[in-house]
Symmetry: D3
Subunit: 237 residues, 6 copies
């Protein structure tokens, strides 16, 4: 049995709160149980220098964690003087995940910057971030549509993410921190509403895992992401 | 008349929400109108090297702002690679303000780190931070008392802060962003529950102000801080 | 047909040159076609602070690229002042891959640092790095055995890595730079000699890929890694 | 009695030496007793990017301390790799103080950079810096007038600064290092020649101070600054 | 007798391997015995900002060392976050040495960046770097000539470098690491094919050396550099 | 004829002012004409980690330049965030020069840190720094002797430095900025009171120079340094 008492294929309670920021063009406070991530989308009338003149826009993401989002206080990256390798890895992942469902030429020569800040962490912060960021991005694009800045079709599909792992040999969905610390494998999946695979990250630091285990994790993830996409649809309906 | 339609000596709606973090020993989400600051207090069994062996504790603070807490997106300091002069100035101020009401020897050789993170900014973030940080600090010390780690008297008094300025020549209390941008002087006051002055910062970048104006600002601040202290008392009662 | 004229499941010409460094305890210059990576293993009688007193050793890795390893000159990271997110991502991957096949308690309280420096790049530098790093690590452990510093069983298995992608819709193995630039998906697989999965990284920046495609890529990778492991065996025989 | 044997309201011996730099457009070596600060004004035909096209100039300041200006050697900030929070706080203060008496539109689209470098420190470096910087700024503007670059009225007034504190309960003026280390409150005042308040900074780290004490400190400061302004007038006469 | 068993005026075995990089416009792997340095020349259609509009080109150099090029592993500068003083000193030296034999106006408004990366170090890395960099530079200029980008005369002469020292009181040429560690003086000479002196660096950290010794070292260097220039001629013939 | 109207072998007016710092154990303001360098010696009861337990002391140096020491304002290195390659080169040179005349074992396990800060620059700052630093070092060692911390013989000899160059083909001594900008070669010499060579740095960026020229420069330097050593003797007599 899982420490969280959840069934192997059961998500934590997931909630989305929209329009939580008075300034951002789109925003969402997403909760995967005790993991809370504030996602904002900022429209900027500029693009990275290497994109100039190509008639395409860009979506990028940054990720941060408040110092006491964690069990023990973590040093503030602004004070350390650089973002850790982990932070950079996660924010690159979020950006790629979102770009996979955006029609960049239709966005025009603009950038949408997504900020995902972990207010409280209990495992699965990157998957919650991606899932909530989609809502913030959606609302930012709506904001643009209302102002006739873009036409339909900029956002091509949903995208959501979930973690899976082997806990005491059993494949389980959406690990919280306690489960994650004792799991044999750590994997994260990002998929679209149509079920396409956007990103797969499976890591076995202590023991390698078998093809069968991996396939089971992916099947669980597919089911969990489908549920998340349904919740996104309800949220923005 | 003020853009906020408030009377010259009227605070914004102030609210305190305690215990908002599952991890921190003390926490408070404070709101001064649309300015929202999350304050957490983290107990750490270590002290700065230069304090070792003196039988005293320490209280320190860090300040941050989410990138889209502001009207336009601000660059993330972790990504820029250092904390701005403004950030350092504010976090030094918060730390001094709190230490003024803590009996450091009674705290023992431990450090309490206060993190003040601005979730949404609309003027007065530093004063909201100090006022909310006191509640987080209070609750952290309560947490220690319940575990017999400290005796009574660690926290000697309340401390709270407010800004004042001259708006169209009239002294006004607790400026929001719009008022602040058009005011002739920017001043921040930190005082204790007993009315002692902890910190005074008055700045006139464009025009110097008279002694009379300064005295009027301080009188307003004294009144506003007394109200904030009453609210703190209700909050932790 | 692939630009490289290779069959879909065909590796580039792979070669291993051992003992290329007069100083390192183990070293290997590995070539995957025109991708050349110099891997050295350095034995250090120290471990990371957080590991002290646990009776276990550590294996870590760093990755670098000579400025003109690439088609156009890349700025030197030492001159820029930090390692890029990509560099950190890759060196963390190499470290995890190697630790998956090392019995850390048997290593004793020591660290082996693997440096993978790309002398010339033509796609697949991270997979060549992992595959060559295993040989350097193997030779370093042999060096220790000859000096009775460790017993048998420190190195539990082989580990190797390869990239796969969809080129014009066809799954292909071991992409060179030209193929990689035009492929629809980028995926890297790390597996052990016994066929266990250590790391899976699949990324679709432009279009999501189907479950069938992903399974086909993984099957190709499994085959390619088995060939690389055979070559490793010949090399250290 | 004060360690310096001065009366409560007595300044240290103050001297100004002009034109001490062969290169700078204006310069002043100011001494407040054993505190010696070299102030230079550099005219630059450029302005900060955010000011462009507004027809206004800018005055900015930087502050530094030679490593052995202090009792014990302080680490060189250039070697540490960043300016401390204290340094940034002081240089921002100096800049604001000077801008309060400059008519920026009359300066034209140019920047005057003031460098205040502490050659020897014995308390009150920031107040000496501001007081001496005004002379350097004055001479720089004279230099410009002689070349018909500006008309009259760029420099609208004098500005000077002094510290005050409570020493054994008595308000005293212009604390040296020894007095400062044992005072109960640390406050700095910046005022114009006309007596306008430009900046007030009062800090009570250990005990809060009363309104009466604060008023007494400000009265002392007002008197001291008036004396400094008289000395500035004699200097540039 | 020298530890290397060489005669006082005898160079180590020197070899040059050209065109070792598939990407660089010119490249050379030079070996002075066990010291191996990879030199690449990269043509860039840009020049430093301060050179713009002067109709002249620029040659610059960067120097690096693989972490395990040395007896004990050296920390990677990209990970430390800056280039050491030694690295900067060497790369400035290499750049000056090469510019002394290039007709910069004839190069046109372009920059050639030379990267010298030490693959294995056994003393004399900077002199090997300069000597090999000349070959890379030569080949880069040939590459440009073949494309009619420059005319004859860009490269005015050869340049090469060697170290000398006093070993047990005897002047010796081209010290390896073991000899260098025990020598009384460390000196490096850079000269042209015509025998002109480009750079002299003599350093006596423990004991000052006499005029006679210095003259003897310079005579040895002159002879050694003449031999290196002959080898360069054979290499590019 | 030289722009300075000096004879080829004539030094600028040189002056030494001792004990200019109230805090430092030794200090000297040296002037080579309009080049003014403040040198302080700080005794520290610590040594670099790598020297511990060897019964020897250390002498190290840091070099800095006030921003407006130069004709045009130079950016402050503390604000830029690092010391330039030039700064590091110079401070390493000063340290080596001083260590060449100190008996480090007789100093005991202590460090003397020399700070050389250029107050005003007009060419030759590094040679003035070395020459003045010797006086500061001398006085620091005297300070120690008076407190019975060291015995005689710590300081074994004088050390001084001077620049030479070819101006219109004529070898000249002690170049000021204007001469230096137009000279064909830049060379710096450091020698002891006994005439031993400590450091030779000759650089020809535009044209290589002949053996005869170099020998002439060194002869001039020998004469100039002998004069500087005489002045040092008078200063500390």
């Amino acid at each position: 049995m899982r420490p969280s008492k959840r069934q192997p294929g059961e998500l934590r309670r997931v909630s989305f709160e929209r329009a939580v920021s008075m300034h951002a063009e789109g925003s969402c406070l997403i909760k995967f149980g005790n993991t809370h991530v504030l996602c904002t989308a900022s429209l900027e009338e500029r693009i990275p220098p290497w994109l100039k003149g190509q008639g395409r826009g860009w979506v990028t993401a940054e990720y941060g964690m408040l110092p006491r989002a964690t069990t023990d206080r973590t040093r503030r990256e602004a004070s350390v003087g650089h973002q850790s390798g982990r932070t950079q890895e996660i924010q690159r992942l979020i950006g790629r995940a979102l770009r996979a469902v955006v029609d960049l030429p239709k966005l025009g020569e603009r950038q949408i910057s997504i900020d995902c800040d972990v207010i409280q962490a209990d495992g699965g912060t990157r998957t919650a971030a991606i899932t909530g960021a989609w809502v913030a991005l959606h609302d930012c694009i709506q904001w643009m549509k209302l102002r006739d800045m873009v036409k339909d079709g900029v956002l091509r599909d949903h995208v959501a993410a979930i973690s899976c792992g082997l806990y005491n040999g059993t494949p389980v969905l959406d690990l919280d921190y306690l489960e994650d610390s004792n799991a044999d494998a750590d994997s994260n999946f990002v998929m679209t509403g149509a079920g396409g695979i956007v990103e797969v990250q499976g890591t076995a630091e202590t023991t390698a895992f078998s093809q069968e285990s991996f396939d089971a994790l992916m099947a669980l993830a597919r089911k969990g992401i489908a549920e998340l996409v349904e919740l996104q649809k309800l949220t923005v309906a």
